[in-house]
């Protein structure tokens, strides 16, 4: 009886039907879906503008079903600032990787957060440069081998990985800062709650919000997809602990 069938899962309206270009085992697709679900649930698709970065997710605008602009490398928070200041009624978010946000765009993200710009940042941290072919990122783990750290990241010369969520949490300006992962269904559910929280603060006009999401890069890590999720748990999660680091109310949750 077709009439008795109940749809319990369908493509979010905020997600387009375009097939993504992401590598097998990469979690960009999951994160895209979570963002789209949140935008649908908050009912803001028709007033949302995304800012695409430079890097693996440069084509993000092809996968979402709302207005988008494309930023120069690292500058997404500056574009988002310009747009949101002129259109505070719109919902604006940047979608950035770790090379984009933690390296070339460090100045833009710190100052946008410090000014308390009322947009949302989805920050995808996979500890490597993906699109350019697996070079060392500011988030690359100590001793992690990449094409530009072939002997492993040497912390004597390259320093330690930058903990972006902690760094931004140190600012006095009120903000919502959280870190999540999506490599298991349980973690994805937790990540969605944080993403929804981040967008909700924006809808209320409360504060800057950023969710750092740990992600996998089987292609450039040179590890099979399933082993990549274990590598993320064993190597990244101890150094990048999950949780809510800062809320505008000033207390951790």
């Amino acid at each position: 009886m077709a009439n008795d069938l109940l749809t319990i899962l369908s493509r979010p309206e905020a997600l387009s039907s375009t097939i993504t270009h992401y590598c097998p085992g990469c979690t960009h697709g999951i994160i895209h879906r979570l963002v789209a679900e949140v935008i649908d649930e908050l009912g803001v698709r028709e007033r949302t503008v995304g800012v695409a970065p430079v890097g693996c997710s440069v084509l993000a605008y092809n996968y979402f079903n709302f207005d988008f602009m494309e930023s120069p490398h690292g500058r997404a928070p500056a574009l988002a600032t310009g747009f949101k200041r002129l259109r505070p009624d719109m919902i604006v978010f940047t979608y950035q990787g770790d090379g984009d946000l933690a390296s070339i765009g460090m100045g833009e993200i710190i100052h946008a957060a410090n000014r308390g710009e009322k947009f949302t940042v989805i920050f995808v941290n996979n500890a490597i440069y993906g699109m350019t072919g697996g070079q060392m990122a500011p988030t690359t783990m100590p001793h992690q081998k990449t094409t530009t750290s072939p002997m492993g990241r040497n912390v004597e010369t390259a320093g330690y990985p930058i903990r972006v969520a902690e760094l931004i949490s140190s600012l006095a300006t009120p903000a919502y800062i959280a870190r999540a992962a999506v490599h298991t269904p349980m973690h994805a559910i937790g990540a969605k709650q944080k993403i929804k929280k981040a967008f909700s603060y924006q809808v209320q006009g409360t504060c800057f919000s950023l969710v750092e999401i740990l992600s996998t890069c089987p292609t450039n890590w040179g590890i099979a997809p399933e082993a990549s999720t274990r590598w993320l748990e064993e190597n990244m999660m101890p150094y990048y602990p999950l949780g809510t680091l800062k809320t505008p109310e000033g207390k951790e949750k």
């Binding site: 007033r47 084509l59 988008f68 500056a78 574009l79 988002a80 310009g82 100045g107 833009e108 000014r115």
Partner: protein, 361 residues
């Protein structure tokens, strides 16, 4: 509105407000910081937006994001600051976005100095950022003209969906002159801003981008830009002639405040019995090449002399325009040194006494 005595930087700021450009992003740099100081007070009165950015890199990109709303946006800076904005300017040109960038030039290269110069001509007119693009470049020679050209700049930016640059030297920014600014700029018809990001309500999503991974699509965008520049070249050439007549032996080519100093020299030479005309481009792109060719071709003209506050930049466009029909000389000072009328007069006399070969120095 009655005439008011205003500093160039403040007049430029007020002209933008008059043109409905109440959205401004900037980072302080001498000799134009008064624009930001003025607007920090003025914009709240008109419900505008002013963000002091952390760098000129951020300014350029705030402008980029703000331009995507379809509202009028602008920034002002000086030479090293404009260099930092080149990334965003290239992207905005590639994405067909309107914005106005004011460069109150100081000496360079590098950190250079803080005194007036015209040494960013190449950067403004020939590119600056990467890729196949042009800017509309306007060069005022007085504070009043800076006001008028600011309003024109916003109109042209919207009309052609392109970044427009207004370049003046530190003198324009710092000197006080009597100006008239209307309460509201007279608007001429403009195409609808049906490209602006307003939320995908009842329509397909809009994407503002400059990435075209398909080479055919990228070339198509470059051709689209080139076609736009062709239309601009056909319609937006602006210039002024001073004391140009059939008795001229020499034609000075100069722009901006330098051209005003040349006018003084021309008046004094006239008293000495030497007839010299002035050709002043107001639009540096599109460059008035046909006009300068026609003027240079007149039989009474023995030579041209380009005078700039640089080591010689516009002189290359003058040479290109006259295609060898007459000799083109050059005289320039830079580093913040402004040539005096006497220096200009000497350069004119040297050029007329030369044997007609190109002379630079």
């Amino acid at each position: 509105m009655a005439k008011k005595l205003m500093k160039g930087n403040e007049a430029i700021a007020e002209a933008a407000v008059c043109a409905g450009a109440t959205n401004y992003f900037a980072y302080p740099i001498t000799p134009q910081s008064e624009v930001a100081e003025y607007l920090a007070r003025r914009l709240p009165e008109v419900g505008g937006v002013f963000v002091q950015a952390e760098s000129e890199v951020a300014v350029g990109n705030m402008l980029f994001g703000a331009a995507c709303t379809g509202q009028r946006v602008f920034t002002t800076s000086s030479s090293p600051g404009v260099s930092l904005m080149q990334e965003a300017i290239s992207y905005m040109a590639g994405a067909h976005l309107p914005a106005v960038i004011v460069n109150i030039m100081r000496g360079g290269p590098g950190l250079g100095g803080i005194l007036p110069a015209q040494s960013d001509y190449f950067q403004a007119v020939k590119g600056g950022g990467h890729g196949d693009y042009r800017l509309i470049v306007l060069a005022p020679s007085s504070v009043q003209e800076a006001v008028d050209l600011m309003m024109l700049a916003f109109h042209l930016a919207d009309k052609y969906r392109t970044p427009v640059m207004l370049i003046g030297d530190g003198m324009i920014g710092q000197m006080m002159e009597s100006v008239e600014i209307p309460d509201k700029a007279q608007e001429r018809p403009l195409p609808p801003k049906d490209w602006a990001l307003t939320g995908a309500k009842g329509r397909n999503p809009y994407i503002i981008k400059s990435l075209f991974l398909d080479p055919v699509a990228l070339e198509k965008n470059s051709i689209l830009l080139a076609e736009k520049y062709k239309v601009i070249k056909a319609n937006e050439v602006r210039w002024e002639l001073y004391n140009v007549n059939d008795t001229n032996q020499l034609l000075i080519c100069s722009y901006g405040t330098m051209a005003r100093i040349c006018q003084t020299a021309i008046d004094e030479l006239s008293e000495e019995g030497l007839s010299v005309g002035l050709f002043r481009p107001i639009s540096l792109f599109p460059f008035p090449e046909k006009v300068i060719f026609d003027e240079a071709s007149k039989p009474n003209i023995k030579a041209l002399l380009t005078i700039e506050m640089s080591m010689g930049q516009m002189v290359e466009d003058i040479e290109r325009a006259v295609v060898g029909v007459k000799p083109v000389g050059f005289f320039g000072r830079t580093g913040g040194i402004v040539p005096s009328p006497d220096e200009v007069k000497d350069a004119v006399k040297r050029q007329l006494a030369s044997d007609g070969r190109k002379k630079k120095g």
